[in-house]
């Protein structure tokens, strides 16, 4: 039996709002009546706009601080447009956190290869915060980030900060750029073959558009990373977030309940199937 608490959105206030990109904002929310809403890197909340609808949005803040909840939202539909239009002190409905997150424990002792595409950096950011907070538990940390153009780089300031750290390797690439961009140009999976890393001792965490993840998985497998060591954040059709409505069923998996983070050995053969 599922408690009503998981089905009923709790009204919470927007504390702060920051524009990240042309159509992307980060909302800082109060955590709700309980005062704290602990989450794991990779989990998501359901955000409800009263009278409009509800969408799953990954937590993109630091799981080590639970004073506020951070969500980065791209305005692409009726609900996310309303979310993006929220102002400080406006109310939004909140359910969560839900789902299975990144393998932060399974990855301990191994090298981490974090591959993000576009807005896919948002669900990975809590994992990066966690790794940096517990840096001694992990081997090499390599972050590959790809996006459409230099103007579409999410969390650009933070990427720059991480890149300055001696214990994190950051590689950024864009699909296309003008002449003033002096960085790399090309798709993010093409960065994998040029890396000098030990595939047998690497755990890969990948998040981005599904096509980008498929190409990335191919590059990782070509490089010798085991299927069991490749983790993807799938975000297909999550509606109830409890594995009841069936909208997100993906083979024998319910993405909202068994994921959204799943190891590739569970997705093998399914990833290239057309959605049903």
């Amino acid at each position: 039996m599922i408690s009503d608490d998981f089905m009923v959105p709790e009204p919470v206030r927007v504390l702060r709002k920051q524009q990240e990109l042309e159509t992307t904002w980060t909302l800082e929310l109060e955590p709700g009546g309980a005062g704290r809403r602990p989450f794991l890197p990779g989990q998501f909340n359901m955000l409800y706009m009263f009278g409009v609808g509800e969408v799953p949005i990954s937590l993109s803040g630091d799981a080590g601080q639970t004073e506020t909840l951070i969500h980065t939202v791209r305005a692409v539909g009726p609900v996310s447009n309303k979310l993006a239009a929220l102002k400080p002190m406006d109310a939004v409905g909140l359910r969560g956190p839900f789902g299975v997150g990144w393998p932060m424990t399974a990855g301990e002792g191994a090298d981490l290869l974090i591959v993000a595409g576009g807005l896919g950096l948002a669900p990975l950011r809590p994992a990066i915060y966690h790794v940096l907070r517990h840096r001694e538990r992990y081997g090499r940390v390599i972050l590959l980030y790809g996006t459409r153009s230099p103007e579409d780089i999410l969390y650009a300031g933070q990427l720059e900060e991480w890149n300055k750290r001696p214990d994190v390797e950051v590689h950024i690439t864009v699909d296309h750029a003008g002449g003033d961009w002096l960085g790399k140009i090309g798709v993010v999976p093409s960065l994998v073959p040029s890396l000098d890393f030990d595939p047998e001792d690497t755990v890969a965490m990948v998040c981005g558009p599904e096509v980008m993840m498929r190409f990335t998985v191919n590059a990782l497998r070509d490089a010798g990373v085991e299927d069991e060591s490749i983790y993807l954040s799938m975000e297909r059709n999550m509606k109830c977030a409890l594995g009841h409505c069936g909208h997100c069923q993906f083979g024998s998996t319910f993405v909202c309940k068994d994921g959204p983070v799943l190891s590739f050995d569970r997705l093998r053969g399914l990833l290239s199937l057309k959605e049903f």
């Binding site: 969408v55 996310s80 576009g118 296309h176 790399k184 140009i185 999976p189």
Partner: protein
Amino acid sequence: MKNIAQIVCEHPFFHGLDGEFCDLVCGCARNVRFNPGEYLFHEGGDADYLYLIRFGQVALEIAVPGKPSVRFQTLHDGDLVGVSWVLPPYHWAYDARAITLTRAIAMDAHCLRKKCDDDPVLGYDVMKRLLPILTSRLHATQMQILDVYGTPEQPE
């Protein structure tokens, strides 16, 4: 100091090439350098050389009427610049410009093509090295054309 034969045969594109073949292709090679902003070649020009980057970064660009050129790929240490040298009528399909100081091996395309034609075993070996590069660039282009970051995959 390394001689040109060592430099060519240690480059990832020719790495592992049979020693005799390596000596053969070295006859087509010379060292070149490009300053930042300098073009390796221009769209429509004769593809007389292929370039093997030893050090540096090269951008591939396409001119867009009325707008600044669009860069669609950068190539780095160990990469091959240009594939039109192997495809008749041997004309470049885009511009290539050094972004940073770039040191490369320039291979005379006429010379290399002739040696590949004269010795099909060498030619087949070179093609086997070229094909994975072409394939990976084709896959990258497919992903760029799909513009995967541009529009959401699912409606809300």
